[in-house]
């Protein structure tokens, strides 16, 4: 059973004890290897870079230079922790639209991401046919996919991907990211049910920021935790503080071990906070009470991780300054390069509607 999750509405650091596996009491026995300070430092570096880039894109949107952004601010620790528990060269990532930190952690560069936000030539996922962070990456042994803006569609797709891996006997894990909003979709139910019946190597990773655009979690579900639904499908459910990158790493690592050893899917719910409105087109002052945001930024996982690293002696002023100024420098250069890149011409507009040379191909 899941324990009382008093911190689930106000996640903070450090409190790894709240990680629980429903129906899998030996969670501690199936967890991943412990992280070193060097690991945590690298994760911190990625979080700082993500925040710096995210702020830049938001700023560019406000200046009219980027059409739209769904900010990952508040989700960084959850995303960096999940990727850390997986193998970017072997595992498969079915992301959704708020995965800026996930992309950076997987090695997609700030320039590549900015080319997406500015819809420029060379954008690596869809050639800027799609919204930022949508399309597919197939280089450097990466399998990162986000076909659609339609929430929850990626969940049955990820299950099909895992089914194919299982049929071929490949020991890969597919992680499917989604938000609390997508948890209400019928496809989420159908995907989890099928994955559990066939014990497929899938991790359902819910980033619960407690808002589906403007609709609060209390109007989305009459339960405390998305993870409790796992027991209804006969799979483990883990609720974890999504502001704690180590706790998320441990939860996803445990789920990955179960998946890789043929024990089927796990539902991991990382409870996070959405620091900004749903997207740059949203105005959360219309629906989010000020007291809801009060104190949340005090729990910001980036300074919290910085504090732990300092306490552990793994970070000092000089190194922290290097990490932050280096992130700023990288983002500044990427901004300049992306702004100088041209928009794609429509010369391949009709290409890849159908397979080249097949009936209907107009290219």
């Amino acid at each position: 059973m899941l324990s009382e999750q008093s911190s689930s509405t106000k996640p903070g650091l450090p409190d790894n004890d709240e990680t629980q596996v429903a129906g899998s009491p030996d969670h501690n026995g199936v967890g991943p290897p412990p992280l070193t300070d060097a690991d945590l430092l690298e994760m911190y570096r990625t979080m700082v870079l993500s925040r710096t880039l995210d702020q830049r894109i938001w700023q560019m949107n406000r200046q009219g230079r980027a059409a739209i952004v769904a900010s990952a601010q508040g989700h960084e620790a959850a995303q960096v922790g999940a990727v850390r528990a997986l193998d970017p060269e072997r595992d498969r990532f079915y992301i959704y639209y708020r995965e800026l930190t996930t992309m950076l952690a997987l090695g997609i560069t700030p320039l590549e991401l900015l080319l997406g936000f500015l819809a420029k030539e060379g954008e690596p996922l869809s050639g800027a046919r799609q919204f930022p962070l949508h399309g597919a990456i197939d280089r450097d042994r990466r399998d990162i996919v986000s076909f659609s803006n339609v929430v929850a569609t990626q969940l049955p797709q990820a299950v099909g991907v895992a089914l194919a891996d299982k049929m071929r006997g490949e020991k890969r894990v597919t992680i499917a990211y989604f938000g609390d909003g997508a948890a209400s979709m019928g496809e989420t139910h159908e995907a989890m049910n099928f994955a559990s019946i066939h014990r497929l190597p899938v991790i359902f990773f819910c980033e619960n920021n407690k808002y589906a655009i403007s609709v609060p979690i209390s109007k989305q579900m009459n339960i405390e935790s998305v993870a409790t639904r796992a027991s209804a499908y006969g799979m483990p459910g883990i609720e974890v503080n999504g502001f704690d990158p180590v706790a998320v790493y441990e939860a996803v690592g445990a789920a990955a071990n179960l998946a890789r050893s043929g024990q089927g899917p796990t539902l991991v719910e990382a409870v996070v906070e959405r620091f900004l409105p749903h997207t740059s087109d949203d105005d959360d002052t219309r629906y989010r009470p000020p007291e809801d945001l009060e104190g949340i930024r005090d729990l910001d996982p980036i300074p919290a991780t910085e504090k732990i690293l300092r306490e552990n002696g793994a970070l000092d002023d000089a190194l922290d300054e290097e990490i932050k100024s280096s992130a700023q420098k990288i983002v500044n250069q990427a901004t300049e390069d992306a702004e100088n890149a041209p928009f794609p011409e429509p010369h391949d507009f009709y290409e890849q509607v159908y397979a080249p040379g097949s009936p209907g191909d107009q290219s």
Partner: protein, 327 residues
């Protein structure tokens, strides 16, 4: 060469493709021990086992989405929707997703899946087991839509669909399953997607159709032949991409054109064919293009006389042919 029914031809195509290519597998409702509600997959579970013939929960969105995921990851799934009327939960995954995978990734991912959809009426199926839904899919670029009428075409086109690198929606008319018999060559052959077939040559008018009512068109054409009217009947076979070349060539020869389908008239494929003829062969026409199609009611009623009222028939088609001939 053996005579077989449409359902037997479908089953043969599935069996031979499963034998030929280990990445081909099937998923759907009741397709395992039951062999499918129409027995399209009868015997395949026994031959290929439960890992390649997967009975799914009653969950069409999952059937569509799982087929899509497996296709993206190197497999060639053949998903069965039990009745076309039940396809709508899967539409999000097929029209919304599968059709755009290639375009939305610049070809970095593809979706070589087949969605087999039994459709159509005249089977006492009532409002929820009779629908013609093909045009909902044939409107969508990125999909290929096939609707064979004969056993020979069904087998050859299903093999092409399974080998195709794009998502193919494969419509099988339920009434043809056991009604229509025909010669099918032994062993492997394919029929290209995107090619119509002139099922009867004639010089007085062109009739374009597909599916069950294609046979009614041929029946009506035989009747008209006795009256001295020579009708050419074209079977579209593929609804996307349309083989407009074959249609236009015929219309330029006969100077009169008619489209016949069971689906309702407004917004049906007949409107598109008529528009293509009007755009490309207006000056070759001696008469307005005529359409015979289902009536503007939401779906096909259950009771026999009501069902007959809905269905195009050889008699109704013959009447329209005489009118067109007399114009």
């Amino acid at each position: 060469m053996a005579e077989m029914t449409v359902i037997e031809a479908v089953r043969e195509a599935l069996r031979e493709e499963m034998e030929r290519d280990s990445t081909v597998f099937m998923l759907g409702e009741d397709i395992g021990a039951r062999g499918g509600v129409f027995l399209a997959t009868e015997g395949l579970l026994e031959q290929f086992g439960p890992e390649r013939v997967i009975d799914t929960p009653l969950a069409e969105a999952a059937i569509g989405g799982i087929a899509l995921g497996a296709a993206v990851n190197g497999m060639r799934p053949v998903a069965e929707i039990e009745f076309g009327d039940f396809v709508w939960p899967a539409v999000n995954q097929i029209i919304g997703e599968a059709a755009r995978v290639r375009y939305g990734t610049q070809g970095r991912r593809t979706a070589p899946l087949v969605l087999r959809v039994p459709y159509g009426g005249g089977v006492r199926g009532g409002l929820y087991h009779s629908q013609s839904i093909e045009v909902a899919f044939s409107h969508q670029p990125g999909l290929k839509v096939v609707a064979p009428a004969t056993p020979y075409d069904a087998k050859g086109l299903l093999k092409s669909a399974i080998r195709d690198d794009d998502p193919v929606i494969f419509f099988e008319h339920k009434r043809t399953y056991r009604l229509v018999k025909g010669d099918v060559p032994d062993g492997d052959y394919t029929i290209p997607i995107g090619k119509a077939d002139v099922k009867r040559t004639g010089s007085d008018m062109t009739v374009v159709s597909y599916g069950l009512v294609l046979h009614y068109c041929l029946e009506a054409a035989a009747t008209l032949a006795e009256e001295g009217i020579d009708v050419e009947v074209i079977d579209l076979r593929t609804l996307r991409p349309l083989d407009t070349d074959t249609v236009l060539e015929s219309v330029r020869k006969t100077s009169k054109a008619m489209v016949v389908h069971e689906d309702t008239k407004a917004g049906g494929i007949g409107g598109e064919i008529s528009a293509v003829i009007a755009e490309e062969a207006f000056e070759d026409l001696d008469a307005p293009v005529k359409r015979v199609a289902g009536p503007e009611v939401p779906a096909m009623p259950f009771s026999p006389l009501l069902e007959a009222e809905f269905m195009p028939s050889a008699e109704k088609i013959a009447v329209a042919m005489r009118e067109l001939a007399a114009y």
